[in-house]
């Protein structure tokens, strides 16, 4: 009796075995080349015709038509940012409270009007007109803020899409995107030249990343420079005033005021005036981003000044304080740039705090040396 501990090798008939995996087959999966029949209607991108060898007319460029004829890019659906369940109770409270107040207001107004009409027709009419005016204005204002908020939303949508385009080696998605960004600037006379330059340089052969880069180079870089100048200017102002003022509370109020104005300016530059509520939302978002910013980045960029580790602090505590608040303003400004720019920055052209800081220090030392020389002269 011999039992083997191992199975002996065997050879099976090929037809008798069933494959566990599908046999590898060469599948011809490709699209056949086609010569398009002569009577088919061809569409070329009118905008891009400008580069084509057989174009004759340069005037077309001026009337930039942003309807890119290429395939509209499907925007990837964003993940829902808010869970309905989490907010439902608070939401209900808000809605019911709101409608209660609104209803009370309406009823109260109606009763009030009724009372006035009872007294005198003229008085009632006057009040009616006034109330109608107030309501209309309020509605108008609300509508306008709503529009501005929508605009902010567009910007953040564009940003999200831009991030996807960064590394895309594909073709055809960037043009519709860039056209949407361009539509933000179509009305602005100062941007017209840049946009024309862009449309003159871009060709249908550029792939997504190149279109993106080109738009950054021709259009956004100018805006970036302006925004950067605003940030530098405001930071310098804050730094100087904080350095010179002796009252702490005044510093705080002043810095806060400059910062909100700064955010608003930058938003206006990039994507149009944000509106009253819009600027508050924006400011909130900027501050939130700053708070949650990478700690190491903050440490590397600004903390040295705030903690008094810089050369200036050795010279004067007041000066260090000024520099600290200047750098804070600069951080708010740069963050605002990132929040408001419809196309996200890539690492290469991201504005750096280091550079702003240098300029602030320079302007402060200038004041210092002037003071100094004035002192010795006097």
């Amino acid at each position: 009796m011999t039992t083997t501990a191992w199975a002996t090798p065997k050879i099976f008939d090929l037809d008798a075995v069933e494959n566990v995996e599908e046999e590898q087959k060469v599948e011809l999966n490709y699209t056949q080349p086609v010569i398009i029949p002569a009577d088919a209607t061809l569409k070329t991108n009118a905008l891009l015709m400008a580069h084509e060898p057989d174009t004759s007319d340069y005037d077309e460029w001026d009337s930039v038509d942003v309807n890119y004829a290429g395939g509209a890019a499907a925007i990837a659906p964003n993940a829902p940012t808010r869970q309905l369940d989490n907010v439902s109770l608070w939401g209900w409270l808000g809605v019911s409270l709101g409608s209660f107040l609104l209803l009370a207001l309406v009823v109260d107004t109606a009763l009030f009007l009724d009372e006035q009409y009872d007294n005198s027709f003229v008085l009632g009419t006057v009040f009616l007109v006034l109330i109608t005016g107030i309501t209309a204005t309020a509605l108008g204002l609300t509508y306008r803020s709503y529009n501005k908020i929508l605009q902010l939303k567009t910007v953040s949508e564009l940003q999200a899409e831009g991030f996807q385009l960064f590394d895309s080696q594909g073709h055809g998605r960037a043009m519709p995107y860039v056209n949407r960004v361009a539509s933000l600037y179509l009305e602005r006379p100062d941007m017209k030249g840049n946009l024309n330059q862009f449309y003159a340089a871009v060709t249908d052969a550029h792939h997504d990343q190149e279109v993106y880069e080109l738009f950054t180079q021709k259009v956004m870089s100018d805006l970036d420079k302006q925004a950067y100048q605003i940030v530098v200017q405001r930071s310098k102002e804050t730094a100087l005033l904080t350095m010179l003022s002796q009252i702490g509370l005044l510093d705080v109020i002043f810095t806060l005021w400059r910062n909100t104005a700064l955010v608003k300016d930058i938003a206006t530059l990039y994507s149009g005036r944000p509106g009253f509520i819009g600027s508050f939302m924006l400011f909130g978002a900027v501050i939130q981003n700053l708070l949650y910013a990478d700690v190491s980045e903050a440490a590397a960029d600004g903390m040295a000044e705030i903690l008094g580790g810089s050369v200036l602090s050795v010279m004067s505590g007041q000066m260090a304080q000024g520099l600290g608040s200047g750098v804070m303003t600069a951080r708010v400004g740069l963050q605002a740039m990132q929040n408001c720019r419809p196309m996200p920055f890539d690492e290469k052209n991201k504005p750096r705090l280091r550079h702003v800081r240098k300029e602030i220090v320079k302007s402060m030392t200038e004041v210092f040396s002037k003071k100094d020389s004035a002192g010795t002269a006097g």
Partner: protein
């Protein structure tokens, strides 16, 4: 033994002019650009267009990704006389005239060696240099030569025996098997060890040359045709130097006549190497800073798998003969080696724009071997799909109920423009059985009619990015 020989060689090169040139290159004032490509890959058109774009750098917005131009630091460009008087100048003017005339033509293919030098004057933004010398000049040297000659470079490392075996091996496969029939039959009758007449030698080399010419035929489009001078003799036309051919079988015994077929052929092969290839190599190919490899893949796509593999083999072989990051003492001293290499798929306008990324990916796949080798040596590389002269226009249309993107242009052999979807460029190299008939139909197009005559715009695809990569860091 080797070291003094090297030093000797180096010292002999150290003439005054040479030293000046080397210093110029060491201090980044001169770039020597190797435009490498097999025959018909578009070298001449590329050089013509490149020079044209550079000469018109100050005008317009045609080079948005060439930063020296787009940043406005370019001061001007000019064609210069090349200091090497014995080398003919690149015929830029006739080429550009042909391109820009009423009914434009592609420039004549190159039959000999020529050289061109472009001076680029620019403002530096290096803070240190700015103080000393705000306006600098960079000389860009470009050499044009028949692509066939490139294939001689690998011969330098092959003995006659090795080379013969290589050729014999290649002749075992189609389409060479049938194309070389005449030559092989003739060779089979010969006794390579025995005494031989001049007549036989001539006949053998004639048949071999004929075989090479047949391989080169459009129908087969073989690339790996050695020796290169056989198909494009240049100034050596009819020279006795070109009368040799490989043998199909190496003589096994040690006894052979002093004047045997094998020995004579071997001698001639060695003298071809010594007098033709080595001269070409040392004078023009031993020292480059930057290299661009132009590859026309579309023709290979059209013809089939054999043509494609042959081209790949040839390119990989050629690329091995350049010096990338070799660290000899002299090279270290002067830093003269190729440190940037651009793989370019030419004729990018012959595919629909959405296929361009595929074209780039495919080229990279195709040259993986060389690609890895040069990256290992620390060379910066990039892959681009470019078109020196863009002669088609992208369009799209409805075809059988589907939106299809296509290109519009005038084919080389007609006067009527056609619209064409030429097929998809695969991202992976297809298996031999996947190269079926009718999968690709890449048509050759006529050059575009330029509205502006000899004016400022030759439409191109990504020439600016090629320029930026190749010389952009020198500014």
């Amino acid at each position: 033994m080797e070291v003094p020989e090297q030093a000797n060689k180096w010292l002999s090169q150290l003439s005054k002019a040479n030293l000046k040139e080397r210093l110029n290159r060491t201090f980044d004032r001169q770039v020597k650009l190797a435009v490498t490509g097999l025959s018909r890959s578009g070298k001449t058109v590329f050089i013509t267009s490149l020079v044209h774009q550079l000469l018109h750098g100050l005008e317009g917005s045609h080079l948005p990704f060439f930063h020296i131009v787009s940043s406005g630091r370019l001061q001007g460009t000019k064609l210069m006389h090349h200091p090497d008087m014995h080398i003919p100048a690149f015929r830029y003017d006739p080429s550009i005239e042909q391109l820009c005339q009423e009914s434009p033509l592609w420039p004549e293919p190159t039959s000999g060696l020529s050289q061109i030098r472009v001076a680029i004057r620019y403002q530096t933004d290096n803070a240190l240099v700015k103080k000393v010398n705000p306006v600098n000049t960079l000389f860009v040297d470009i050499v044009d030569y028949p692509g066939e000659w490139l294939l001689d470079l690998p011969l330098l490392e092959l003995s006659y025996e090795d080379w013969s075996m290589q050729i014999a091996d290649m002749c075992q496969h189609e389409p060479r098997l049938s194309l070389s029939k005449d030559w092989r039959e003739f060779m089979a009758q010969q006794d390579v060890t025995g005494q031989v007449t001049d007549e036989t030698l001539r006949k053998a080399s004639e048949l071999y040359t004929e075989f090479l010419h047949r391989c080169k035929d459009r129908q087969y489009n073989m690339s790996l045709l050695q020796p290169g001078r056989f198909t494009m003799p240049g100034d050596l036309k009819g020279a006795p130097l070109l009368e040799f051919c490989p043998v199909l079988e190496l003589p096994s015994g040690t006894t052979q006549a002093a004047e045997s077929f094998f020995l004579i052929m071997k001698k001639r092969y060695e003298s071809y190497k010594e007098h033709v290839v080595k001269k070409f190599y040392t004078e023009h190919f031993s020292s480059f800073d930057r290299q661009i490899v132009l590859v026309d893949m579309l023709r290979a796509f059209n013809i089939g798998h054999a043509s494609f593999t042959d081209m790949r083999e040839a390119l990989n072989m050629v690329l091995r003969s350049f010096e990338y990051g070799k660290t000899g003492l002299m090279n270290k001293l002067f830093g003269l080696k190729i440190d940037r290499l651009l793989f370019a798929a030419t004729k990018a306008d012959h595919v629909t724009p959405n296929q361009l990324p595929n074209l780039e990916r495919f080229l990279q796949q195709m040259l993986t071997q060389s690609y890895n080798d040069v990256i290992f040596e620390g060379v910066t590389t990039e892959t681009l799909a470019l078109s020196s002269v863009k002669c088609t226009q992208a369009a799209h249309t409805q075809f059988q109920g589907q939106k299809i993107s296509c290109i519009k242009g005038v084919p080389l052999d007609s006067n009527q423009p056609i619209a064409l979807f030429p097929g998809e460029v695969p991202t992976d190299i297809p298996l031999p059985e996947e190269w079926v008939d009718g999968r690709f139909n890449f048509v050759e197009f006529k050059p575009p009619r330029l509205t502006n005559g000899n004016g400022n715009r030759i439409p191109h695809i990504r020439l600016d990015r090629a320029l930026e990569f190749l010389i952009g860091d020198k500014f």
